[in-house]
């Protein structure tokens, strides 16, 4: 039996209604032995008292139910975002406010590269905030004429490349005929690539190769550091192309004594049949460890709203764009649901548009009639446009939902004027409706699409402010208590992990987020500004400043 370590804190918010607040927590073997006063805890056995957190606030370790390891991988490239952002090592990168800023940033990075053939890539570029100015290959040729250069937009749907990158991909030639590749007056591509079909053939030449983007060992380690900085102790890698081999690597990294997060990878349903996918995850599930939780599947029903590839019900897109794309056939999704229910495998389904949500509901209903299941917790991910009736169906089918609360802030204004129009923009990511209809709910960042920061995500759900400062959908705001629940127990519930994590109570993992300010005292308007000291994960202390 290990030693008992008792942490004292200014305040511990437990999320356990039997004892909502306390000051001490005893930890043994990486788990919470008990919470209460020092006197109560001292009765157990000999202990050491750790007062590192005596002036800090402890809350349950935060749970991010929708992120991607790619959030770690991207930092090996140049951050070109509009907003200031900290990298995994804690260096703050200033946001680029103009195209010239971006070019200069890339020029500096270029001058540090040694070998002339090395590619240079930037990411998170967002000209939406720069009057949508276009960037062409002649702009990026100023960065380098000899090495391939590419800049990926924040949306992930546009890539700008220089002449060298086009040349390597054999696209710097006349006669290109592709709607995603505009041509210059000279008949050659401008270097702007729109959509995955146009980006795909070029991205690997600028350094966005598939293997590194999906997360190698270094990316996973960087991902772990980002977790500590944002108070996260359990996180999903939603839609990984997991194989038996990639699991070896993930086990090696996550089992290291200094790796600070519990990773929950979901195998994407793509490129293999439903049966093969179920067989694979069942075999992977047996290799799960405390820090790596395998055995779940993510399916993708449609595309994205801002990319106009989400499937919309009547009356469709506000700007009249044609309806989006299906990524999985209803028949294939139905087969997956039936087999997964029969084998006790959980499926999370990406549905952005409300027609995709409707299709998933219509597909799961008959599968549940065929294979009744008492506690499947099948979860709709994003589910951004669901209406009250759809939430009622989710409740009746005992489904969960994980809403994309960060969207209000980053793209709320675009949704209002362009994609879905005012009324549907106000009901997007309808947190209040979900809770009132009784659907277990989480909220997420989809990092790296938006930054990993559950307290910011909570702020979005509480305030529903857009970037321009408008409140969008006052009726869908939730309380700070509900938001805190969503980023702890709520997200844990969608992963069947609420018995292990998500609250500070006896028997659970000793996972805490260590905060400098009290989220309840600071109030909903300021919750995003709370400083995060670090985390405790499985009883191990990780200070962000000392990573």
């Amino acid at each position: 039996m290990g030693k008992i370590r008792i942490f004292s804190a200014k305040k511990i918010i437990t999320m356990n209604p039997n004892q909502p607040e306390t000051t001490h927590v005893a930890v043994r073997e990486g788990r919470i032995l008990s919470t209460g006063t020092l006197e109560e805890l001292a009765i157990w056995d000999d202990y050491t008292l750790d007062e590192t957190f005596h002036n800090k606030i402890l809350i349950p370790g935060l749970v991010e139910g929708h992120a991607h390891v790619m959030a770690g991988a991207l930092w090996r490239h140049v951050y070109c975002g509009y907003f200031d952002r900290a990298d995994p090592d804690g260096n703050m990168w200033q946001g680029s406010k103009t195209i010239a800023d971006v070019i200069e940033l890339l020029q500096v990075a270029e001058s540090k590269l040694k070998y002339p053939a090395l590619p240079l890539a930037g990411w998170q570029f967002d000209p939406i905030y720069m009057d949508n100015q276009r960037v062409t290959r002649s702009d990026l040729d100023q960065v380098s004429a000899t090495r391939p250069v590419g800049v990926l937009h924040a949306s992930g749907h546009i890539l700008n490349v220089n002449s060298k990158a086009l040349e390597l991909a054999d696209l710097l030639r006349p006669g290109i005929n592709h709607p995603g590749i505009p041509l210059d007056k000279d008949g050659l591509p401008t270097g702007e690539l729109y959509g995955p079909d146009a980006i795909g053939p070029v991205s690997k030449y600028v350094g966005f190769d598939r293997a590194s983007m999906e997360g190698d060992a270094d990316a996973l380690r960087a991902f772990g550091k980002i977790c500590v900085r944002s108070g996260v102790t359990t996180i999903t890698d939603l839609a990984a192309r997991i194989t038996e081999e990639s699991v070896d690597k993930m086990l090696e990294v996550t089992e290291h004594p200094t790796f600070p997060a519990r990773i929950v990878p979901l195998r994407i349903f793509m490129g293999a049949s439903a049966k093969d996918t179920i067989d694979l995850v069942l075999s992977l599930k047996e290799r799960s460890t405390d820090q790596l939780r395998l055995g779940r599947i993510k399916a993708v029903a449609d595309g994205s709203i801002q990319g106009f590839s989400a499937r919309m019900r009547w009356p469709g897109y506000f700007n009249g764009a044609p309806n989006g794309l299906w990524y999985t056939l209803p028949e294939q999704l139905g087969e997956l649901y039936r087999l997964a229910l029969a084998n006790g495998v959980q499926v999370h389904t990406h549905t952005n548009g409300d027609e995709a949500t409707e299709m998933a509901l219509d597909t799961l209903a008959p599968a549940l009639n065929e294979v009744p299941s008492v506690d499947h917790r099948f979860t709709l991910q994003h589910c951004q446009l669901a209406d009250a009736a759809q939430f009622r169906r989710m409740r009746n089918m005992k489904m969960c939902v994980n809403l994309f609360a960060n969207h209000h802030f980053y793209w709320g204004d675009e949704h209002y004027r362009l994609t879905v129009g005012p009324e549907r923009a106000r009901r997007m990511n309808a947190c209040r409706t979900a809770l009132e209809m009784g659907v277990p709910m989480a909220i997420h960042s989809d990092a790296p699409i938006t930054p990993l920061a559950p307290l910011f995500t909570a702020w979005c759900a509480v305030n529903r402010l857009t970037l321009s400062g408008r409140v969008q959908g006052d009726g869908e705001k939730i309380s700070i208590q509900d938001a805190l629940y969503a980023i702890t127990l709520g997200a844990a519930y969608t992963l069947h992990l609420d018995g292990e994590i998500g609250s500070v109570e006896i028997g659970k993992k000793a996972d805490f987020a260590v905060l400098e300010q009290d989220p309840i005292d600071i109030g909903g308007a300021n919750i995003k500004d709370i400083e995060i000291w670090g985390t405790v994960q499985g009883g191990r202390v990780f200070q962000a400043k000392k990573l």
Partner: protein, 303 residues
Amino acid sequence: MNLAGLGIPVTVLSGYLGAGKTTLVNHLLRNADGQKLAVLVNEFGALPIDKDLIEAADDEVISIAGGCICCSFGSDLSAALSQLSAMNQPIDHILIEASGVARPEAIMWSVGLVSGVLPDGIVILADAETIQKAARDKYMSDTILAQLQAADLLILNKIDLVTEEEVRVTSSWLALQNENAPIIPITYGKVERDIVLGHCVQRIYAKGAHQDAAGPSTLTLLPKHNIDVLELAQTLAKDYPNIARAKGFATNKSGEKILIQVVGSRYSTSIVSKELPDGIVCLGLGETLRKRHFKRLLHLLKI
């Protein structure tokens, strides 16, 4: 068939779940007749190739009798196409079996970006018994209609399961969805290989104008002078709905050798550097193609 050094021709085959894509692919492999076909599929899930055709299989490639292969391209089609075009063992034709949610024209745009391969045509398969019902599906309707509209050739499969009257009705309905693509009625996926893959062109070199006893009706046009090649290609594609395919070479007025390809209503012309004899093979549908049907064309060709 990389005859003119322009790249391996690529055909995209699509159609809704159950239309018979896999049966048709197996039929083509059984009747490849020495042609080396590479079949690209989204996934190996439900094995796409009949067991008796398989010589060897690993995670990435299934080797098929007669030198054909089948590979899955997962999410990187352009990489798979590049690999195929660079293979030591030469491939004559690539057939992409697209999934039921695919946008075939988007796949063809992607094909057009890869060097070493050449877009050929989009072939869409429809189940004579279920296509009209499927096209009314709550969720898949617009996807299915878009696939039919993208077709250069429409293949109406399983016509043995419906009456002749229903074949006529469904054919007219298909023609309403896509007024340009020839409609080819078949059973059990048994479609004439040359119509899908357009390997008719070597007939020029075999015996000149020559009509097989079986198989589609053929007519070989032999221009005797330099001609307006673009006009010829357009005319074959737009004015002759009973021509399913045409392929061959002609010399334009500037004296350049041009490859002409027509698949249904789609046509393309490309300059080739090799010295090849002029001649365009046309494959017809239904009644025999005769020279007298082609007066305007013959006038154009000054034949």
